[in-house]
Every structure is written in structure tokens, then in C-alpha cells.
Amino acid sequence: MTRDPRHSMDTSRQHDNDMEPAAVDKMVGSDTASGSLEPPIILPVINAHQDPQVLIFNLNDLKQLRNQYGILGVLLGTLSQYPQQNFFLSIPLRLSVYEVVWLVETRRGILVDQLKYRKDKLLTSKQTGKDIKVHVRKDGVIEENAHEYNFITTRNTDKEGRNEELIHEHQIQLQEYIDQYIVSNKQLSRKQFMCNYQNFKYFKELNYYISPGLKFGGDLVLYPSDPLRFHSHSIVRLGSIDLNDIIIGGRLATGVKKNYIVVDTQINSNEDHDHESIITILQKPDTPKVFSVEWAGFG
């Protein structure tokens, strides 16, 4: 298998990927997103009206998210070269709800109702079945539009580029997305969600790389830099806990050579004030209180 033809076709943002990692780390969390020249990344929302999920299919967007914004997400697709293992996975990239809110809030991404967007885009599309037939030469080079073809492929996304007009038409506002997420999520109150997000944002803006924490029984796992090259140091638990949780979490974290971090934020908003805009709450954050726990076995 070989390089993807798509990769070389879309050259518009190619230069971004060659950035020095050191420079990358400096950019992450910098608050100058509004000064950024990049157009906001499209965050495709699947099932926007019931259970909104953001999946990234565009490889260049994935690179930009990781290299420039330190957003990891979780790959969930089958890697077609090695389809019988679960260790190395591929596109799509699933973003957590906190990653999505952070990207939109800092104007690095916009939410788009992908089903409607793609259905409307289809009306003007010139793509035909011929476009997915390619010729893979013996040396591995892929030729598109060749006279003969020997491979039939499925793209990650369409090759016709962004249609800004339709994007605008089907854009989903952050408030709408969060509201729908909370509705689909019986266990979570609005206030709790906002607290969790403030806690996430606190670590994000300290330039940590953040993964979901389910593997270690926490809410987040923090990495000092890209987890491709660095081990994690901390398991984070969001929100209130009791002494049992401290022992369980602290003991487990120590066992896997990490520390256990407990964090919570006080948000001064009344649960009854449902009409209070989420965006206003976002804009008046309080600094989270953070504690680090290590299990100490005397003896």
C-alpha cells in the first residue's frame, strides 16, 4: 500500500504539517486564535438532532488539530492495510465534547450539520463513479484518471472542497450543540457540564495534551506533550469526590506511575436561570481548584 492520492491533491494547507514540534507546542493554548490566519476547521456533526458526535474525516484537518492545536481525539476506523487488529486505527477521528467546545469557543472550528450539508452539496456535485477508480502501479504510485484502472477506492471525504455558502447555511451554533448534548445525556446537568468544561479548558491552556480517561478509571489523562512520544503523568478526576474515590484513584494512579488529580470549578450561575446563555457562562470563568493525590503506603 502506498501514499494516498488525496494527500498530494489538496495542497492548500500542506505547509502547516511541516511545522517544528517545538513551535507547535508554543502555539497550543495561545489565546491568539482570533489572530490566526487559518479558516476555522469544519467540525462535521453526525446525528446533529439526537446525539451529536463530531468525527473528523479530512486528513489535513486531523493534522492541523494535532500539530497546531494539540487536539488528539480518538481514531476509531479500521486501518485498511491491517484490518484485523485494534491497536493501530485510522480515520475517522472522534473528538470528545470538551475538545469540540474548546475548538469552537476559540474560533478554531465551526460546527456543521454534516448530513444536511453533504446532501445539499450533492446537488451541485460533478463526482461520478469513475472518480474512485485508480491505477496502482507496481512501484506503488497511484495514478488517478488513468486509462486503465485496477483498484477501486473509497475516499475519506469528497474532493470538491469547501462550499462556504452551504457551510454557513448548515452551521450549528455552539449553544445549540451543547444544549442537544445535554438533552441526550440524562446524567449530566448543564451546570456540571460547564464546570467540567472549565476544568478541561484549564488543563488545555496549560498546554497539556489531553485524552479521555476511561482506560484508567478517570475522566481525563494528561500528557506533557504528544502521547506519540511521551508518557502520561496524571489521571484527572473532574468534579466532587469522596474519600473512597481518593483512595481508589490515588492507589490506581500510583500503580501505573501517575498521580491523581482532583479538580473542580465553582460556577456562579443558578441552575434555574436556564435562559442564561451558555456563552455568557463561558466568558466568566473562575479559576479551578486543583489537588494532586499520591497514594502513600507507609511501611
Binding site: T2, D4, P21, D25, P44, I46, N47, Q50, F57, K63, R66, G73, L75, L76, G77, T78, L79, Q81, Y82, Q84, Q85, N86, F87, F88, S90, P92, R94, Q114, L115, S125, T128, G129, K130, D131, I132, V134, V136, Y149, F151, I152, T153, T154, R155, N156, T157, D158, Q187, L188, S211, P212, L214, K215, S225, D226, L228, R229, F230, H231, G255, G299
Partner: protein, 449 residues
């Protein structure tokens, strides 16, 4: 227990599960089997570190930018149709060996797929998919075997569009798909959950009624007499009991103290309310890759029955939910299995394995040798303890459900089994009576063994 005991259970060298880590893509070798790469503790702003990070990223991006597709010799074409039915994709001509558990046959050898199966096949590059138009729908209506269609006239769906279509209406979510594809990649055979055995509640109660009516009036009388010599000897009426009675062994003491009735396996089947909460409905029936008796049309009892839950959205199921779930699985009672050779047959198949002796087999042989060097009494005792422990842990019924827990894309599985600490139900009793006949199995006291 001293503190030393407590700490000795913590492994000194922590063993990591490789799947718990972010993979180092530069170790992606020819086989796709991961190796444990060496990672750094923290960034130190050296050029060497940023170079290795860059090359790790390039390895990752290079791998995931690979072409997704297949050679035209294996051409497999599906067409996305939305006709409101249970299925969403039609394959006019099937090819390849993916269809052992995937798809359902339609007229004229066409095969219909559901959303999960469609996305799975396309994502691994084994099938391409087009969006149906009116021309195709007419073609499909009049389709006869070997009819051809010019797919070049259709719009080829890319993965993004396909996901939007497949998971955009709430029938299946991304969570279900992640569990489905995880199992499929490991070779399991997965079908959407369906109950193909009749209700456990009905069958169990019918059996109980049958037994009771067979026993007739004589047994009712003996049962009455039995009540006087029942195991529950706690003297409710006589407050002077302990002043007057002498006990000569611990088993009798424990037995006399036994106050609380505990749950017996299948007790929950006795109530006929079996409505299941919408939050917890089983999602998949799963068979092991090596299950040779599997067929799509007439599947054997599943090896696993899986419930997909989202850790952020669903709480842990309540006791009532768990009981209802267990009562709702596909299950065969031991009294229904006609030839009791089931277990033996399974063992035979295992022995046929012609692979070179594995470490596991060597260990097993060593264990058997060790067991044979013990006295008969010792062997029986150990077997009894082992069987009893297994009943505590795994229950006696063999009923279990697997919870596939998803949170923000991370998957975990765990197994919910009804353990049996009571040991006096019919199932446990049968197993233990075979080893020590007439013992009071419900009393967990080993001094008399």
C-alpha cells in the same frame, strides 16, 4: 491480614496492557502487531526530541493516509438505498467471504446489509458504495441474476457521507459501531441482538409447575415434615435455646446462626414481570471466531451477549435491570439439554488441536502431574474447593452478559455474572453433591473437609 499481605498483591513491576497506551506508529511493522516503543518522560526542548516527535507523527499520518480500497478482481459493490426498511444497503452480487455473519439474503441472490455492516465493509476497503438514484431503484425492482448496472453513473459515497447517512437517524450510534467493529476486527461473528429462545420466565415456571404436579400429595406431606428438620435451626421460639444446647462442631454453630434467606439462582425468574428498561437493551449476539456450528439463518446459542452502554450517559444498571437483562438473554436451562454430553463434546474438540504444544498446555500437563501425585482425599478436597470457588465467582447457571462501555471513543468490556453464594440452589447442589455427598454446602467452613 497483615499489611505485608496487603501490599504483596501489588505487582512490583507494573505490567502494562499495550492497548492502554497511545501506539508508537513508527513501530507499525509488516504484521501490524504493535511493539512497545520507548517514550520520553517530558519535553526538554532538544532538537533530537522534536525530530523524533516529528517522525512519529509522520509515521502515523503516513499509515492513515493509505489507500482504502480493493483490487478490481475482488470487486464488491454496494448501493445505499433508503426505502424505510430495516436495511440500508443492497449488494446485487456478493463476492468474498465476509458474509458468514454479515447481511441477509433477498430475492435473486441480492444481499441486504444494515448500517453497521455497511460501514464496516466500506471502512476496511472491502466494498465500495454508491448512492442509489431512480434508475438504480427501477433496475433493482426488475433485477434478475446476472443483470448488470453501470455504477459509473452513480455518486460514489465517501466515508464521511456514509457515516452521516448511517448514523444520522439514531438507529445505531457511533458507540455501537465502535463495539461492533472492534469485535469484527478480532474475528468475532456479530449479529444484532435477537432473542431466538422463548422467554426464560415462561419455560422456568412451566418446568417448576411440572415438577410440583409430578411430586403429588405425598411429597407435599414429606415437605411438611421436612420443615421440622430443615437446615434453618435458629430457634426463634425458644429464647433459652443457647443455654440448653451444646454444639460439638462449627458447622452446626454456623448453621444455627443462619438467619437471612439469600438469593438463589433463578429466583428472579419466579416473578413474571419481565419488562426491560429502555436504557438497557441488549445490543449484540456474538460468537467466537472458531465457532464451527455458526450459521446466520440458524445460529446456535451465542457465546456472548453484549450490551453497549455509554459511560457518560448511562449509569450502571440497577439490580432489577441486571436481573431483567439476565432473564432476557438467549439461554438453555440444564433441564432442557437432552444429551448431557455437551460438555464432553466440547472437551474433545479442544483436544483435537494439532498446534505445537503451547506454554499453556505445558503448564496444564505439569498441573495434572502434580495433582496425580496427591492422595485421593487431597484431590477430592481440592476439586471441591475449586468447584465451589468457581460457583462463587461465575455462578452455577452460566448466565452472563458483557457490558461494552464506551466513553469519548475509549472502549472497555466487562462481564456481569450472577455469582452464587447460597450454594443450595439445584444447580450448585448438583455440582457439589457429586464431590461430597450429603455435606451442607451452604456453610462455608472448611475445618471439616
Amino acid at each position: 491480614m497483615s499489611q505485608d499481605d496487603d501490599e504483596s498483591v501489588i505487582p512490583r513491576e507494573v505490567e502494562f496492557d499495550i492497548e492502554d497506551e497511545t501506539p508508537d506508529w513508527s513501530t507499525l511493522s509488516g504484521s501490524g502487531i504493535p511493539k512497545r516503543g520507548d517514550k520520553d518522560f517530558e519535553p526538554d526542548s532538544t532538537a533530537i526530541q522534536s525530530q523524533s516527535l516529528q517522525s512519529a507523527r509522520e509515521a502515523m499520518y503516513g499509515a492513515i493516509s493509505g489507500i482504502r480500497g480493493h483490487h478490481v478482481k475482488q470487486l464488491l459493490v454496494g448501493v445505499w438505498i433508503e426505502d424505510g426498511s430495516e436495511y440500508c444497503c443492497v449488494i446485487p452480487r456478493i463476492k468474498g467471504n465476509y458474509f458468514r455473519d454479515i447481511g441477509i439474503a433477498g430475492p435473486n441472490n441480492v444481499v441486504y446489509l444494515n448500517e453497521l455492516e455497511t460501514v464496516y465493509l466500506v471502512e476496511r476497503g472491502s466494498m465500495v458504495i454508491y448512492l442509489a438514484n431512480e434508475l438504480f431503484m427501477t433496475f433493482l425492482k426488475e433485477f434478475k441474476k446476472d443483470d448488470e448496472f453501470d455504477y459509473d453513473t452513480l455518486y460514489p459515497l465517501d466515508l464521511e457521507f456514509l457515516y452521516s447517512l448511517a448514523f444520522g437517524h439514531g438507529k445505531y450510534g457511533i458507540d455501537e459501531y465502535q463495539i461492533y467493529s472492534y469485535l469484527k476486527r478480532h474475528g468475532y461473528m456479530v449479529l444484532p441482538y435477537r432473542q431466538f429462545t422463548t422467554s426464560q420466565v415462561d419455560r422456568y415456571n412451566a418446568y417448576q409447575d411440572k415438577i410440583n404436579s409430578n411430586q403429588g400429595i405425598w411429597s407435599t406431606i414429606t415437605n411438611w415434615f421436612g420443615w421440622f428438620k430443615t437446615e434453618e435451626k435458629f430457634p426463634i421460639i425458644d429464647s433459652m435455646h443457647y443455654l440448653q444446647t451444646h454444639y460439638f462442631n462449627f458447622t452446626d454453630v454456623f448453621q444455627s446462626l443462619r438467619l437471612i434467606q439469600s438469593y438463589e439462582t433463578f429466583d428472579s425468574l419466579k416473578s413474571k414481570d419481565s419488562k426491560i428498561d429502555d436504557d438497557f437493551k441488549l445490543t449484540f449476539n456474538v460468537w467466537k471466531p472458531g465457532n464451527s456450528t455458526f450459521s446466520k439463518k440458524n445460529p446456535p446459542l451465542p457465546d456472548f451477549q453484549i450490551l453497549v452502554v455509554n459511560a457518560d450517559k448511562n449509569g450502571f444498571p440497577k439490580l432489577g435491570d441486571i436481573q431483567k437483562l439476565l432473564n432476557g438473554i438467549n439461554y438453555e436451562f440444564s433441564f432442557e439439554i437432552k444429551n448431557s454430553n455437551g460438555v464432553k463434546a466440547e472437551k474433545k474438540i479442544r483436544k483435537k488441536n494439532t498446534m505445537a504444544t503451547s506454554k499453556k498446555e505445558i503448564r496444564q500437563a505439569q498441573r495434572e502431574k502434580r495433582i496425580q501425585s496427591q492422595s485421593i482425599d487431597q484431590q477430592t478436597r481440592n476439586e471441591y474447593l475449586k468447584t465451589r470457588d468457581s460457583i462463587f465467582k461465575n455462578g452455577a447457571s452460566g448466565r452472563s452478559i458483557i457490558l461494552g462501555v464506551v466513553s469519548n471513543g475509549i472502549i472497555n468490556f466487562f462481564n456481569l455474572i450472577e455469582g452464587d453464594f447460597n450454594l443450595r440452589g439445584e444447580l450448585s447442589k448438583n455440582k457439589l453433591e457429586g464431590i461430597y455427598k450429603g455435606r451442607n454446602h451452604g456453610i462455608i467452613y472448611n475445618g471439616d473437609l
